[in-house]
């Protein structure tokens, strides 16, 4: 039984890309103090919209643009509900996921069995979306830690009352962040339909949005941590597929479970370290999930 590390790494990059996109987007949303649990719903919407656009136009690039628009559009429902009507973010996010899954199941019927156009190849035999995903990590890091808009975004997520007191537009910053998160989640979803599976299947994101949410916590709200988390998850996914193919005497169900199990174990370890370790309080933005309402 031989598993070639290099080929595993190349496959890992592909498996990690959808989660990397979605998690980077959610990271920005959460750093602005908003908890959007609708990542899965936005991903599946992006997967269908991207597939449909790519199929109709024959251009995967157009597919990804359509997916970003669709993801951002769906996220605006969440933004309107949570930022203007001050609905509960957890419940609204869950509803968004259910809404996205249901909507795509209905509108996706005609696309079942169709084939996606060929992906655009990039350097080193990896497609451009893999490169874009990796390039986004330093960009997001630089934006958050080195630019003034990034500083304002973090300030809004850290203490929205103080940010408002200093005159920063809390709601506008959050809506923009939610839209960015939606666009990236949509692109991540489209990667699954256009570049991985090459066709549309109902519910095809299979929990990737939830993994992305977990990875943001795993990453302690740091973009480089998101990259590590996405690669770890991608690695376990690829490895278990290889082990299945190699006919290892472990039940297939257990192997399929491995990536999700790995995510849970990592989350438990991080929580334990926060509770008992030296690091003290977590890195979570202090206003995360709290509704903001200013009296004028």
């Amino acid at each position: 039984m031989m598993i070639d590390p290099l080929s595993v790494f190349i496959l890992l990059l592909g498996a990690a890309t959808p989660i990397l996109f979605a998690a980077l987007g959610e990271l920005v949303v959460e750093r602005a103090g908003v908890l959007n649990l609708g990542v899965e719903g936005m991903m599946i919407t992006g997967a269908l919209a991207g597939f449909a656009a790519a199929h109709a136009s024959g251009s995967p690039a157009l597919g990804f643009i359509a997916a970003a628009v669709a993801g951002a559009a769906l996220s605006m429902t969440f933004a309107a509900l949570t930022q203007f009507l001050l609905s509960n973010q957890v419940a609204t996010g869950l509803a968004l996921t259910l809404f996205g899954l249901g909507l795509t199941a209905m509108f996706g019927k005609p696309y079942e069995g169709m084939k996606a156009p060929a992906m655009m190849p990039g350097p080193l035999g990896l497609n451009w979306m893999i490169w874009l995903g990796i390039a986004l990590v330093p960009v997001v890091w630089w934006f958050l830690s080195r630019t003034r808009p990034g500083l304002i975004l973090r300030a809004v997520g850290e203490n929205h009352d103080a940010a408002h007191g200093l005159g920063y537009p809390v709601r506008r910053v959050r809506i923009l962040a939610i839209g960015f998160g939606g666009a990236l989640a949509g692109m991540g979803g489209a990667y699954i339909s256009i570049a991985t599976v090459l066709q549309w299947t109902e519910g095809m994101t299979a929990g990737a949005g939830w993994i992305a949410l977990a990875i943001v916590v795993f990453a302690q709200w740091n973009p480089w941590g998101v990259l590590a988390g996405a690669w770890l998850f991608g690695g376990v996914t690829v490895l278990q597929l290889r082990l299945q193919a190699a006919g290892v005497a472990v039940p297939v169900q257990l192997l399929s479970m491995a990536p999700y199990l790995a995510t849970i174990i990592v989350l438990v370890l991080i929580s334990a370290r926060q509770k008992f370790g030296r690091s003290g309080g977590g890195a979570a933005p202090a206003s995360l999930g709290r509704p903001f309402h200013a009296l004028k």
Partner: protein, 504 residues
């Protein structure tokens, strides 16, 4: 004309409240101008209008002779108005330099900014390391960050909203030295407070607000604290009656009380003896173990056996309910969420602590009528202004809810009552009523521990005084003859601040 700021006929109405009504006053260059008023008199609304957070419904403002109508705080800052908030508007997870940058319109690059912060903070004798995170700073240091953030913009008008509430008397002196230095350089300072003594000793003029209206602008040095208070409240202040108390036998013994710190402050070997009929005052700057001491005494935090004894009976391992049955009651600082459930009615809130002592719960079932009657009794005895016992606790104003919470415990006929910040955020009338109720309770033979950050209150109420500093309780001193300076030293002095020397 040296008016830096002038307000003409400012008014603001919120649903059901006339927060400001025809407010006119002026602040001159180089003066420290006090804005004085009770809670709810409209001070906050007024400064929020000046700082662009709230827009006035009517009236005009002028800054440096030009019309001034900021639509947001950034416009206010650009015009030369800076503000230090009562509740710090700081970002805990960020560094000092990042926090300062957020308060500026066009901050220089970080290295340059850090250098300027270091220079300026040395110049004013307020040392600060720009690279440190806010979470690691003390309250006094956090305030320095707020002040420096303002000073870096060379403001013409600096607004300070109750800045000394988190400082020791010595730290407050240093703050006033800094403010005086700024005023002499030509900055106009608007100083909001309800502490009469500090206004009398440090402010040049005082504008007094009552129920949203200006009562007058006076020279605070020419009036006694009592006169100022009368203008603030609109009536003569009732003096509290301290008579009739005779400290007798010890009721509460605390020995070697230590707690693990966890998130807060660890108590270290706290020892005290409380006699019946006595009020023991415990002072300290916020965050020095006040909440931890209250939880240890109330039973929320169990402590080692033999540390807490009520009339000879060891209660160290007993929970809050068992201690209440034994006669050890407590009223925590946080009214909403700790002392009362905001969504519950007042009647339901009586069940939280008075269930057993007032027989409101029998065989596991709630006696709703008894609870309503008891709530009604508290409302009547403590003059709680509310439609009735079915009103939600969260709907009461701070002062009224505090009267209810204190009244609920006082009517429980405690042997020992521990209260933390009994009059925090309460208007002067309600505060006087609460203090009188505490004195009366002691006169009836109960022992009281009053934890407070208001030193005047402690001097007024207590027979003996202890200071709580970083979890350690000092030996008690009789309150008679104790001065504010001596108390300041007991509270830990100036926490490493120096007096301002040269301007930058």
């Amino acid at each position: 004309m040296s008016n830096v700021f002038r307000a003409e006929g400012l008014g603001k109405t919120y649903p059901g409240v006339r927060a400001n009504d025809d407010v006119s006053f002026a602040v001159e260059a180089g003066e420290i101008h006090a804005l004085l008023g009770e809670n709810g008199a409209g001070k906050s609304t007024l400064v929020k209008m000046i700082y662009g957070l709230v827009r006035p419904d009517e009236g005009q403002m002028a800054l440096l002779g030009a019309p001034y109508a900021p639509h947001d705080p950034r416009a206010a800052r650009a015009a030369g108005v800076a503000m230090v908030f009562q509740h710090f508007s700081l970002f805990d997870a960020m560094t000092v330099a990042e926090n300062v940058a957020l308060g500026m319109e066009n901050p220089p690059p970080q290295p340059e900014l850090s250098r300027r912060i270091a220079d300026l903070s040395q110049g004013y004798g307020l040392p600060l390391n720009p690279a440190r995170r806010i979470a690691a700073l003390s309250a006094g240091e956090r305030q320095r960050v707020e002040i420096l953030r303002c000073l870096l913009q060379n403001p013409r008008l600096l607004i300070m909203d109750e800045p000394t509430s988190v400082l020791t008397p010595q730290e407050a002196e240093i703050l006033f030295a800094t403010l005086r230095q700024l005023a002499e350089a030509g900055t106009a300072i608007l100083y909001i407070s309800h502490k009469l003594e500090e206004i009398r000793s440090h402010c040049d003029r005082a504008t007094i607000l009552r129920q949203g209206k200006v009562v007058g602008t006076v020279d605070p040095r020419a009036h006694s604290a009592r006169e100022l208070a009368a203008m603030m409240v609109g009536a003569e202040m009732r003096l509290v009656d301290r008579s009739g108390r005779k400290p007798a036998a010890p009721v509460l013994q605390v020995r070697g009380l230590s707690t693990a710190g966890g998130e807060g402050v660890a108590l270290k070997e706290v020892a005290l003896t409380l006699r019946s009929g006595e009020i023991l005052g415990i002072g300290g700057v916020a965050g020095n173990g006040q909440e931890e001491l209250l939880s240890a005494l109330s039973g929320e935090t169990p402590t080692a056996p033999g540390t807490i004894a009520l009339e000879g009976r060891d209660l160290s391992r007993a929970g809050p309910e068992a201690r209440r049955r034994a006669g050890l009651l407590a009223a925590p600082e946080d009214r909403l969420g700790h002392a009362a459930v905001p969504e519950f009615s007042l009647a339901e809130n009586t069940l939280l602590t008075a269930g057993a002592r007032q027989n409101l719960i029998r065989r596991g079932l709630i006696d709703r009528k008894a609870a309503t009657d008891f709530a009604q009794q508290v409302i009547r005895a403590f003059d709680v202004r509310t439609p009735g016992p079915d009103t939600a606790a969260g709907a009461l104003s701070g002062g009224n809810l505090q009267k209810f919470v204190i009244g609920r415990e006082v009517l429980g006929r405690p042997r020992v009552l521990v209260v933390n910040q009994p009059t925090w955020g309460v208007d002067a009338g309600a505060a006087a009523a609460i203090r009188q109720a505490l004195l009366d309770l002691a006169a009836q033979g109960a022992g009281l521990i009053v934890i407070s950050q208001d030193l005047d209150e402690l001097l007024e109420l207590s027979d003996r005084f202890c200071a709580l500093n970083q979890g350690r309780l000092s030996a008690p001193r009789p309150t008679e003859g104790l001065t504010i300076e001596e108390i300041g030293l007991m509270l830990g002095g100036a926490h490493g601040m120096e007096v301002a020397h040269v301007p930058a």
